[in-house]
């Protein structure tokens, strides 16, 4: 994998609410190479969707990006390009809606598969027409050419061609998801951000869609970010993974590294709480407590109140990001000590 495609540096996205700020994404850094798949996992409300949407700045109007955040896509810093310093909140940058430069990137270079494709299509337009519209918006082609391309895309994702002129309600859930993937591929993007692409689907359909996505990703050499709560989907699909907890990226590394040489207590706990159909049946371990309120996150490490390894320092100081092995990062005070000690049991 040759070139770095996406370099996210210290990205912080905070939401302004009446009572103050919600620190949804704080100081998140990762890189993604061309043709690479990254899984972004975490529980609901941990900021994984905000991170994904923050890349293309498709965020609510009360979202502000902190000064110093960088999202460098193919050499271009999106934060610099389409945000301006906020007058109301010093230290933050405001997103300029419908920024003409940004719109050139959206869908053309970076496309998305939205959570719940069931509702992502407009119910009063034919599915094919919606994909054709996306093509015509960005490329100077005739409608016939666009239609030809949709036919080819349908073939690629495995929907019969005669379904192009159907309305969304005539599609099953799995087919809508496939059409969504076709739409995401329509303009040959460099990066696809898939937000919970299979969460609403049954296992058999999920398996087929994931297989399809992996194949298309390989054939077209597209980079992909899969946002999901399901670590088993990541294990199956991703080259590398990033684990999020309460707005922080707690562990980043290759999928193998993170699963087999776990370096953060949260990931270990997650694996111990996850049932599997493989191996011996073991009693699962729940993580005590619940995730913190992001409007009022704990001082120090955000996982410390639930962490079995926490010491005094964890409650006081925010941990640094430690590189425990090449390309394997953990945001923990004791990453070095715990590296190699964690996860063994869960992975036997």
């Amino acid at each position: 994998m040759a070139k770095v495609l996406l370099d996210v540096k210290n990205l912080s996205v905070h939401y302004k609410i009446q009572a103050g700020w919600v620190y949804a994404v704080d100081d998140v850094s990762f890189t993604l190479h061309r043709g690479e798949t990254m899984g972004l996992v975490g529980e609901s409300g941990c900021g994984k969707t905000t991170t994904g949407y923050g890349i293309t700045q498709l965020l609510a109007s009360n979202a502000y990006i902190k000064e110093g955040s960088k999202v460098i896509f193919d050499g271009k810093d999106f934060v610099e390009m389409s945000t301006v310093p906020s007058k109301k909140f010093p230290g933050y940058r405001r997103i300029v809606e419908y920024h003409p430069e940004m719109r050139k990137y959206r869908w053309k270079r970076i496309s998305m598969i939205f959570q719940g494709a069931m509702n992502a299509f407009n119910p009063v337009f034919k599915v094919g027409d919606q994909i054709i519209e996306a093509i015509l918006t960005h490329e100077n082609v005739t409608e016939e050419e666009a239609r030809k391309r949709v036919e080819r895309l349908y073939e690629l994702v495995g929907i019969p061609k005669d379904r192009i002129d159907n309305y969304p309600h005539e599609y099953s859930g799995g087919m809508k998801q496939r059409a969504m993937i076709a739409m995401a591929l329509a303009l040959n993007p460099d990066l696809i951000i898939a937000d919970e692409p299979t969460t609403a689907l049954d296992v058999v359909t999920q398996d087929k869609i994931l297989g399809e996505m992996a194949r298309l990703q390989k054939e077209n050499n597209v980079a992909m970010i899969i946002i999901t709560h399901d670590v088993s989907v990541v294990a199956e699909m991703a080259h590398k993974m990033a684990v999020m907890y309460a707005g922080h990226l707690v562990e980043v590394g290759s999928t193998r590294q993170v699963f087999k040489e776990t370096a953060h207590p949260y990931m270990e706990a997650l694996l111990k709480a996850f049932p599997s159909i493989k191996g011996e049946k073991k009693r699962l371990k729940a993580i005590p407590g619940s995730p913190p309120d992001l409007a009022n996150p704990p001082k120090g490490c955000r996982f410390a109140p639930r962490c079995p390894y926490a010491k005094d320092i964890c409650l006081e100081e925010e941990p640094p990001v430690v590189e425990v092995a090449p390309g394997h990062f953990s945001k923990c005070h004791f990453a070095e000590e715990l590296y190699g000690e964690l996860g063994g049991e869960a992975n036997e």
Binding site: D202, H229, S232, R256, F259, A273
Partner: protein, 350 residues
């Protein structure tokens, strides 16, 4: 199905249970035969004391309807549900209320199943008031506290005056469990009770249910679409497809040695949280058809890689005991069980 063994231990015995929903679409309301959705179409199973039976299947296979029939939230079209030997399929009025005291349900969404304007105390006490249990108010409060403690909401006193919006998802589901427990039920139907919860919370709620089963010997019907969850929770698993049970047996028998082609596909499709795991591709085609126009013969044949013309598309295979305690509804089940080769028909019937 084996009728004689374990007679004393069986709490719930379901035989040939059917639920057809009548559809009135457009002009069919006035002309011709009414159309039926055969949500549950002749299923039979037993649930023994202290046992968790996992009911798995894809959406629309009839697993939730089965749960609702067992709690009599729906009236069965045909068949019997024997609860401690007494048929409750046709109960009405007082008898039905009495039955409902013994059977409780836990629902999927703890955000919807609790009344937002009721405190925890009021929510958990309501079943006691309905069934007139407990002599004084203090007795009732005591029972509520006991139930909350059973659901591991400790100290219970702290939760009594809280409203659902002050609780996390996991705590809400525990309140729903406490509400089910307060009547000391003899049978609980849990319909996707953990699918709305996050991983870190889910394990705790699953462990709680297993502990309650161990402590009180309450049998559960555990309905889920997640096979990994079903494996963790259940002693036995029943797999449903389009209103029929296609395979049933001890959990690890079904998971590691599935004999029905549908179960095989279902299990091979489950993602495994291990990057080294290599799993085979699912062999079945298409998606689950609509339960209105059921295919003739075996319901699975249009998608089955082993389907044979003249057999599978005409004759509906019965659920037979292939090995001890392992039931399969497939014409080739015995061959699969014996390890014999069954020819695959690439495009036999498609």
């Amino acid at each position: 199905m084996n009728e004689e063994n374990n007679g004393g231990d069986v709490v719930v015995k379901v035989r040939d249970l059917k639920k057809y929903f009548e559809l009135h679409v457009g002009m069919f309301k006035f002309w011709g035969e009414p159309i039926y959705v055969k949500a549950v179409d002749g299923i039979s199973f037993d649930i023994r004391k202290g046992e968790v039976l996992g009911l798995v299947g894809e959406s629309g296979c009839g697993k939730t309807t089965t749960g609702r029939l067992l709690t009599r939230l729906e009236d069965p079209t045909a068949g019997s549900i024997l609860f401690h030997g007494k048929d409750i399929a046709k109960l009405k009025g007082k008898d039905l209320k009495e039955y409902r005291k013994n059977v409780q349900m836990i629902f999927q969404d703890p955000y919807e199943s609790l009344n937002p304007r009721f405190t925890v105390l009021k929510t958990v006490m309501e079943p006691l008031l309905i069934h007139g249990i407990g002599d004084t108010y203090e007795d009732k409060v005591e029972m509520v506290i006991k139930a909350l403690e059973d659901a591991e909401l400790k100290p219970a006193e702290e939760y009594l005056e809280r409203f659902p919006h002050e609780l996390s998802g996991g705590q809400r589901q525990r309140v729903a469990i406490a509400r089910a427990l307060v009547l000391r039920p003899q049978f609980i139907v849990a319909d996707e009770p953990v699918s709305m919860l996050d991983v870190s919370i889910r394990a705790g709620v699953m462990n709680l249910m297993l502990d309650l089963r161990d402590k009180y010997g309450i049998p559960f019907l555990f309905i889920t679409h997640d096979i990994a969850v079903a494996r963790y929770m259940s002693d036995r698993i029943a797999v449903m497809y389009l209103g029929k049970i296609v395979e049933m047996g001890e959990t690890d028998d079904v998971i590691f040695n599935p004999l029905h082609p549908y179960t095989k596909a279902l299990i091979s499709a489950v993602p495994v949280p291990d990057p080294d795991h290599k799993h085979g591709r699912v062999e079945i085609k298409g998606e689950i058809p609509s339960p209105i126009n059921l295919p003739p013969g075996c319901r699975f044949w249009p998608r089955c890689p082993y389907a044979q013309k003249g057999l599978c598309d005409t004759k509906d295979p019965p659920l037979v005991e292939v090995k001890e305690g392992h039931y399969v509804a497939c014409h080739f089940a015995e061959k699969f069980a014996a390890g014999e080769e069954v020819p695959k028909k690439e495009s036999a019937l498609a």
